[in-house]
Point group: C2
């Protein structure tokens, strides 16, 4: 993709950035530019004109003001783990790298909240919290920055119990397109004071402002954690067990589905000691008695659906072992086709439609001869098809793109969404329109109000 | 208060409304106008020019378009239980009464969601759900409409467990100022598709659009519910027990504080068999074993703080009896001063500052000789001072207003909010500015983008 470059006097901008921030905070090194135009998806890199490394909200203000002067687009960058091309500099401009904003600013243990700079990663935060008895649960897999997770409304494996970034961000510091700084939200558990600006910026993908600080909700480390794996005759049986579990209000911390194709990949990759059958991976958090009760209730609910091989453990070491398989999913998929790249879809449907959606999708995959295991955070109705593909084969890419479109529209038609947790980026713009119709026009009006020159991550969420 | 009337040719507007909706859906009866300009607060009625009763989203569109033609303000009205003058027609215009939009449109028991017209009240919804094993937990006290609860981001006694309307509204149908209709959100548990319009309209108090339909999250009726009352030597001891309970992650369904002044009022009003001591009222939801465990944990945590008279029960009848006292709070306050009116404040602070905030506030009340018991949804850090006053005594009103201002600013200074659940209306506009600073300018930009002529509930949230 060729960038439609719009920065006026890019060389002058670079000079002014160096003057404002110092040379060690500005780079035009080709490798660094290339790296900042690319995330973990199969989308190609679209490099910015310059990368500016911010160390503070004030740095971001300075960068935003200089960019405005040169009509340069601004693209926030954390560690580049997004999956829909969010960081691609489609019109060139300044990539603001926030990874040096890596300070934990406040821990309020009594109030179960923490304030971090946007570049702190979730693993770094949890390492910092280790001795407090508290943790931040949201786990999208990648060790993403908390600013990036807020910007893309990330979630992951334990959203079924703890919610997504929508529920767990208490407030934000945001630098707006004109350089103003606002602080949204607050430290109280709830508020009815004015419009919910926090939730407006969570999930806005850098298109309304640059998130520089994030206040998050924390949780006490559960007294007991237990993991379980269960096998099922069919994927429908596994999904029906999930549906029954959710409907019974059992507060499971994680429920992950692995279909038989994915189990096969895992068995080959990690020499797993399981039969090639659809499986559910559970995690339970609570008191010792509560966890035991939850596991027993799930096992009992699964009986109707032929649950088998139910193994469960409270021991940390065995727990990691049970989960290891789930963590190897991506590598096991890539191992199926050396040199292939992975495209992850992100459908999310009402739980009652989950079996239908997964079964129709499995049929679609098989009919089109795709190599595509399924895993899912099924407690939320969210599942990912990992299509292993060759991005340099145009015919295959066309087949895959048609499949991706059918899946997004199938999910929307079932009352679901084209993206449960990855966001729109620039890959899913047509599906956003299909999902929200006139609502997209309203989103555009909000964008226009806060970023009239369309300089904040242009070409994302909305077509340029 | 005199309305700054702006409707052009009000008589012509009434005629056109009758033509569009039929005479039985339009009223200019003086009593009806007066009733629609007033909520349950001490704010005086400011009557609209006309009341239009809507039966459908299409009716609302027709009303909004006619109002636009006449530059008439539009004020949504449910059952008038708001507490900050939200329904006052400060510039005249059309009050859209949504109480006839009282249909439950869909119950999706499998997905734990329901879609209702905006005029369905929370009690009507729960009566409708009675045989399904599901319920909608948010309980602000009043039998408010669900549209009104969404518009004011209401919560109440069991938000500590189930969240507020922010967490429990899945989607909305909204009629915009220009007559466009949008449907926000969706039926899947989570989505990362574009800006969170649902959360933008929740809490917007009718200033951005008219909510006509609401999709809500439901919960399974808990297997077991238990209630408990505990007494404490001081209010600080009671609050410290709450703080410890929340920090321990015990999933209490309700924790209500009643201070000694309020207990005294209740003892006099309802001849309660309790000593005049600060009390906590608890409710626990869960499995039988879980509920027992929760109650035992709370009783153990309270020992350090002199917990006494701990009574608990799982029996429905005894449960209601324990809660009866809490439900009589408003009447018991009014009984303290026959002919008086009640003004309810709405501070909400981080839980670690709750004891400080309540103790300083109690001192403030006593120093200024106010008659003002304290109750609170203290699990959220939210408490209400019920000031019993004579609105016709200007000197007293001045003393009360100064107290209200000190309390709001005290709450904000402690990292809290001027309103935990009542909203801004037109009583709290200066405090919104104190709380959110430059953020209010951003809220105004959003308002300007969606309602450029300022016709949607003008004078609320922002000064006219």
């Amino acid at each position: 993709m060729l960038a439609n470059r719009r920065t006026k006097d890019a060389a002058g901008l670079v000079e002014e950035l160096i003057e404002a921030l110092g040379a060690e905070q500005v780079s035009t090194n080709a490798n660094i530019l290339e790296r900042h135009g690319r995330d973990e998806s199969y989308h190609p890199s679209v490099a910015p004109d310059v990368v500016a490394f911010a160390r503070s909200t004030e740095d971001v203000v300075a960068i935003v003001k200089l960019a405005a002067k040169h009509d340069a687009p601004i693209i926030p960058f954390g560690v580049g783990t997004s999956l829909e091309g969010h960081v691609a500099a489609l019109e060139g401009g300044v990539s603001i790298d926030l990874s040096r904003m890596n300070q934990v600013l406040e821990v309020n243990a009594e109030d179960l909240d923490v304030k971090v700079q946007a570049g702190v990663t979730r693993k770094a935060l949890n390492a910092y919290l280790r001795d407090t008895g508290l943790f931040f649960p949201i786990d999208p897999g990648a060790d993403a920055t908390l600013g990036g997770m807020a910007a893309t409304r990330a979630s992951g494996t334990n959203a079924v119990r703890y919610g997504t970034m929508r529920e767990n961000v208490l407030g934000l510091t945001v630098v707006l397109a004109d350089g103003r700084v606002i602080r949204t939200g607050g430290r109280s558990r709830k508020s009815a004071a004015g419009y919910d600006l926090t939730r407006l910026f969570v999930g806005s993908e850098g298109t309304l402002g640059i998130i520089t600080e994030v206040r998050l909700r924390l949780y006490g480390v559960p007294e007991t954690m237990a993991a379980a794996v269960a096998l099922f005759p069919t994927i429908g049986d596994a999904v029906n067990t999930v549906i029954r579990t959710i409907q019974s209000g059992i507060p499971v911390a994680r429920i992950e589905l692995v279909d038989e194709v994915q189990m096969d990949a895992l068995i080959r990759y990690a020499k797993l000691d399981y039969p090639k059958q659809p499986a559910l991976f559970f995690e339970f958090h609570g008191t010792e008695a509560g966890v035991k009760e939850q596991a027993e209730m799930v096992a009992a609910l699964g009986e109707e659906f032929g649950i088998g091989g139910f193994r469960w453990t409270q021991k940390a070491e065995e727990r990691s072992k049970l989960w290891e398989a789930r963590h190897n999913v991506l590598y096991s998929c890539l191992a199926l086709r050396p040199g292939g790249k992975a495209l992850a879809t992100d459908a999310c449907v009402p739980i009652s439609r989950l079996a239908d959606c997964i079964l129709e999708t499995r049929k679609d995959i098989d009919e089109h001869g795709l190599l595509a295991p399924i895993v899912g955070h099924v407690g939320d109705g969210n599942f990912h098809v990992t299509v292993v593909l060759d991005p340099d084969d145009p015919k295959e890419m066309k087949t895959v793109e048609a499949f991706v479109e059918r899946l997004a529209l199938r999910s929307i038609a079932m009352g679901g969404t084209c993206t449960g947790e990855h966001g729109i980026g620039y890959g899913k713009i047509p599906f956003l329109q299909a999902e929200h119709g006139e609502g997209v026009a309203v989103m555009r009006q909000l964008k226009q109000a806060l970023d009239p020159d369309n300089r904040m991550n242009p070409g994302k969420i909305f077509a340029a």
